[in-house]
Each structure stands twice: as structure tokens, then as C-alpha cells.
Symmetry: C2
Subunit: 340 residues, 2 copies
DNA sequence: CTGAAAGCGCTTACAG
DNA sequence: CTGAAAGCGCTTACAG
């Protein structure tokens, strides 16, 4: 049998209001009353029905985090950070994945799980600006990740062009001259891959080094296998790079595998740099040099932005959309050690 | 302004019951009425308030999946499988992590998030049998993973002893004679590590090969770093193994890193086998031989068991606790190729 | 095939 | 400091 507030009240000989006050730790309850009520609660094993509380308060204390996929360690690590940080602020995180598909992303943006969640942190891949503009006003939304939008929502993203420039510059400083880019994508120019590609291209152009399409390999996705295939294709094409800057660490790990299968050593023959700083990278046979976005800072900024809209004062609630840029760092490891 | 059923009913000139019928796709509504109501719904942008529905039905359609950590790719991959499979059955999964700490596991077992979730799938590390026996009757609980309990709950786990035997036998068949175990734990005998250690020991004993503590390295955790440290310690101790069977793939990846830092090659000098079949293992410089638990089968069995208790007929609901053993496979890769 | 009404279990003005 | 009562937005017997 399920115990309700009413049952506790009856047994303790007080009103439900008083029990509610005790459960919620309000003042203005005599210690004697409080103790008696608490005793009945323990005796009966009463637990508040969260669902009823949610309906009454119009709030659930649940925020959704919609990520492309959990299989990518970057997102798993980020999810971990968001969940932990939100828990410290008494928010529950409902984790969802969109598979990076536009229809799923639109679903979330449109208010999927309305009134189950108080707000949403969404990391879109394919979502378009128009999808956001068409959004019926609903729970607060914070955008995560590197795509750029004009729609008026808080947006947390590191500066991808700058990060890509840093990584590419590092490869040049090693003395490498034929630096390839792995993980470009066809299609729309707002995507993250374009930003990283742009940073790569800018720096090479400034250095007077080759930066044509012959040194760019596109991929369908961003998994290890995509990196391996793209690297193989690039080698077959005769591009003979002496360094590769990869869209992310997974692509880089795949690329290193493809290189070793052809008898090419990292970093002696080809230096490799990735992006994300996932833990796997530290344990590769040549540990992976990478761009480390400050995941903790990203997670905190996203949750803080959302909660400001939810619980902040009127000013915070209606402030202009913010664009927050957490930092990043270049982490140098074995995959870019030494000179060619 | 938030639109409720009542608003829709008023605008469409019908009762709330009828609107509810339309929303829930019940029969027995004239096509004309249905169409009119649907039109108003679209016009007003009405979305049912899930919280109210939950309170009324006494069910939320949410099940929790409490895992030690998301940072371990095995759990991330498993979570992915559970979420996808449950979604197909119209259940939402709330992902939680316990950090493998007993107090947190007890919290979930005791009914944390009562009446927010309909049931719980819990993968315990430190939880004790007595913790389960003390459980106040609450939402259905399914236990996941390899620890063994006497408490009366459905339990999904592969046969760890058999799997460890298979892996160890494989190493013997390669001609290896000094086969170490990496990732033992001090303490209680029910733990998974003990089961895998037992399988290892049994097979070596049967083969008349050394299986003493000199060939066993304990770890504090099961991360890459733990594996690297344990491997280093084992090598320093002069145990000079020609093969290692590791508690899981992460430990194996750490071990391979430690081996390469000492100039030992895999598999030429030391063959390595792991457990879990996480994707990283396929892209190691020597791709990793491993035991592959059927994750999909595990996820399905767990969700099915829970939903049987939730939505099944009386027989299914009150059936004796089941112990389900999904299968596993030995996946042979480069880390155990050839002969010494 | 449709309507009027009760009730899920809370929280919170409103009184006292 | 405590109580009686309304209401959050649904679903569902109960009628008709």
C-alpha cells in the first residue's frame, strides 16, 4: 500500500499542511510537532510522490541533455560532467540522444517531453537556424557545441577556428610541411567541421604552405572507422602528408591505425593531432596530441545558463541571449613529438 | 500561456473526455469530431502535460538505469543499447551513476526517485545482499552485471567464470605458459573480479600451469591507469609473464601501454586478452582480443524483465525471480596472434 | 459516440 | 504556529 501525506497526517493527528511543512523543512513548526510527524513518516516509510509535487509546482526539477550519441567518449565525458554538476544544484538530468539526425533534433527543439522537463540543453549537428526560429515558445533552451545560429538562445561553444589554428600552427612548428585535414564534411557552411577546416586553411595559407583540397579528406561520420577509411584514401591518393590534423580524437585514432597498417610510424613519418581530449587518446601506442576543450567549464556554463533562465530573477530570465566561449588548451603528446 | 485540455475542449465545443480520446487515439470518436478536435489542437499548439498524466495514471513510463559510471565505454555502450531498446517499447530511460559506491547504490535500491520512476535497472559494484533484503517494497528492480545475490530479484549476467575460462584457455592454446591475471580485488568473494579470477585459476590448475599469487596483480579500480600501474608492478616483481588476462578492456589497454613503455611487444613478448569488447580495443596498435558479452541481449533481457513486472499479466508479475544468462563470445584479434 | 464529475497527491494562499 | 480547502491537468468509471 502506498502511503500519502494524508495517511501521515491522520496518524500523527495533524493537518496535511503541517506534514508538508515538515517534509519540506519549513520553519514555523514546533519541535514537538516536527518530531512526532517525523516519527510517523519513518514508521510508515512515507515517501513524497514526486509526480504530484511536479504537477502542483509546474516544475519537475528535470532538465534534458540531448546529445548526438553516447558512444563517442567526448559526449559521454561531457554528459558525466553535466549530470554531476546539475545534481549539485538539485537538478536531475534526463539524457537523450539524437543520433545527430535533424528530425530528432527538431523534435527536441520543438518541445518533446514538454512539461516533463523544465529546460533543455541541446547539442545539435544537423539542426538548421529555421528549425529554431519555428520553435513554439516553450521551456528554456541552451545550445551546446560548435554550430553557429542566429536564433536567440544561449549558446556555449569554444572558439573552433582559434583551436584549429592552434593545432595546425603546432604542426607547422614541428617542421611539417604537408599537413592534411581529416574529417571535412560536404554541405552547409555553419557546421563545426567547416570551422575547424577554416582554421587549418587560414594558418597554412599564412605560412605559405599547401592547403588545397588534395590535402583534405571528407568523412561521413566522426567515428574511428571513418578516420581509418579517410586516412587510407588520402594515402592512396598520393597526397603523402607528413602530418594530419583530425576533426576529433576518434578520427585521429582511426587514422593512426590506418597509418600503422601501411607501415608508417607516428610521429616519425606522420605527426597526428586530434580534438576533444578523450581519455583513449592518452593510451594510444603513440599517445595523442589534441585540443582539450574545457569540458568542466562547458558543462557548468550550460547548466548555469539554463538555471538562470529557470530560477533567476526577472533580469536574468529575460537577459539577451548569451554566447559563452569556454577555453581550450593544446595538449602535446607523443603523436607530435620531435622533428621529421 | 499554457494550453490545457479544457482550453481545447472549449474551443472545439466538446468535452474534455472527447479531447482526451482524440489525443490518446482511442476509437469511438466520429471522424468529424476527431478532425475538428485535431485541428484545434494544432491551432493552439496543445501538448499534453505529462506530469498530470503521470499523477493520474500512477505511472510515468520512466525507468531508471543506474550504472557505476559513464566514463567506461562498456557502460556507455550498454546504456545506449538499453535506451534504444526501451524507447522502442515507449519507455524513457533515466540514466544515473552510482560511482560504484555502496551508499549510492543503497540509495537507489531503497527507492530513490520513488514514483518518478516505474522501475529500476541497477548495476551494483559494492552493494551487499543485506542491503537488498532491507529494501522496503517498492518499484520493481532488475539487477545487472556479474555480482551474485541471494535476494529475490531478476538478475541478468553472463557466466563470468565460463568466460574467464574461455579466455585463459585461448592463451594456453597459443602456447603461453606464464599467464598473469590483472585486476583482482581485495575483499568480498562475490565480486565479479573474483569470478573472473576463479575461471583463470581453474583452467591454469587443470593445465598444470602456475597460478599462484605471484601472477596476480590487484587494482583499486578498473580504468586504463589502473591497468598500466598493475602491469608495471607485475613486471617489476620479476613475474615475467608471457601472457595477461585482464579484468576488462580498459585495464588491458593500460597494460599494453605499460608493456610498450618497457619495450615489450604485443603479442610477440606478451599476449593480452581483455573483457567487454569496447570499441577502443579494435583500434589499439595491436587490436585487442577480448570476451564480448552480448550487450544487446543483456540490454533486452533487462528491459524485458522489468517491463514484465510492470505490464505483464499477474503470472508474469509475480513469477519467481529469474536469473538470465546472456551469451558471450571470444573475439580473437592481433593481441593474441601467433605463437611465442 | 459523448458528457459531467471525481480524484491522483501534492502545495499554497487564505484564515485563524 | 496550524487547519480547511482549492486546484495543478490529466484519465476514467459512470451515465446517457
Amino acid at each position: 500500500m502506498v502511503i500519502s501525506l494524508k495517511d501521515v497526517a491522520a496518524r500523527a493527528g495533524v493537518s496535511v499542511k503541517t506534514v508538508s511543512n515538515v517534509v519540506n523543512g519549513y520553519r514555523h513548526v514546533t519541535p514537538a510537532t516536527r518530531q512526532r510527524v517525523q516519527q510517523v513518516i519513518d514508521e510508515l516509510g512515507y515517501r513524497p510522490n514526486l509526480t504530484a509535487r511536479h504537477l502542483r509546482k509546474g516544475r519537475t526539477g528535470i532538465i534534458a541533455l540531448a546529445l548526438p550519441e553516447l558512444g563517442n567518449p567526448y559526449f559521454a565525458e561531457l554528459a558525466d560532467a553535466v549530470i554531476s554538476y546539475a545534481a549539485g544544484l538539485d537538478y536531475i538530468v534526463l539524457l537523450d540522444h539524437t543520433n545527430g539526425r535533424r528530425d530528432q533534433e527538431v523534435l527536441f527543439a520543438q518541445g518533446f517531453r514538454a512539461r516533463l522537463i523544465d529546460g533543455l540543453i541541446l547539442s545539435p549537428i544537423e539542426l538548421e537556424n529555421e528549425d529554431l526560429l519555428a520553435r513554439g515558445h516553450d521551456a528554456p533552451l541552451v545550445l551546446l557545441g560548435e554550430r553557429e545560429y542566429e536564433a536567440p538562445y544561449d549558446h556555449i561553444a569554444i572558439d573552433n577556428v582559434a583551436a584549429a589554428r592552434t593545432a595546425t600552427r603546432h604542426l607547422i612548428d614541428l617542421g611539417r610541411r604537408r599537413i592534411a585535414f581529416l574529417g571535412a564534411r560536404h554541405g552547409r557552411a555553419r557546421q563545426t567541421a567547416h570551422l575547424r577546416l577554416r582554421g587549418w586553411r587560414e594558418v597554412l595559407a599564412e605560412a605559405g604552405l599547401p592547403h588545397g583540397d588534395a590535402l583534405v579528406a571528407t568523412t561521413d561520420g566522426y567515428a574511428r572507422e571513418d578516420g581509418a577509411q579517410a586516412m587510407a584514401r588520402l594515402l592512396d591518393s598520393g597526397a603523402s602528408p607528413d602530418a594530419v590534423f583530425c576533426y576529433n580524437d576518434l578520427v585521429a585514432i582511426g587514422a593512426m591505425r590506418a597509418l600503422s597498417e601501411r607501415g608508417l610510424r607516428v610521429p616519425e613519418h606522420v605527426a597526428v593531432a586530434g580534438f576533444d581530449d578523450i581519455e583513449d587518446g592518452r593510451y594510444c601506442s603513440a599517445s595523442l596530441t589534441t585540443i582539450a576543450p574545457h569540458k568542466q567549464a562547458i558543462a557548468q556554463a550550460a547548466v548555469d545558463a539554463l538555471i538562470d533562465r529557470l530560477d533567476g530573477d526577472d533580469e536574468a530570465k529575460h537577459a539577451a541571449p548569451r554566447h559563452i566561449r569556454p577555453g581550450f588548451a593544446l595538449v602535446r603528446r607523443e603523436s607530435t613529438l620531435g622533428k621529421p
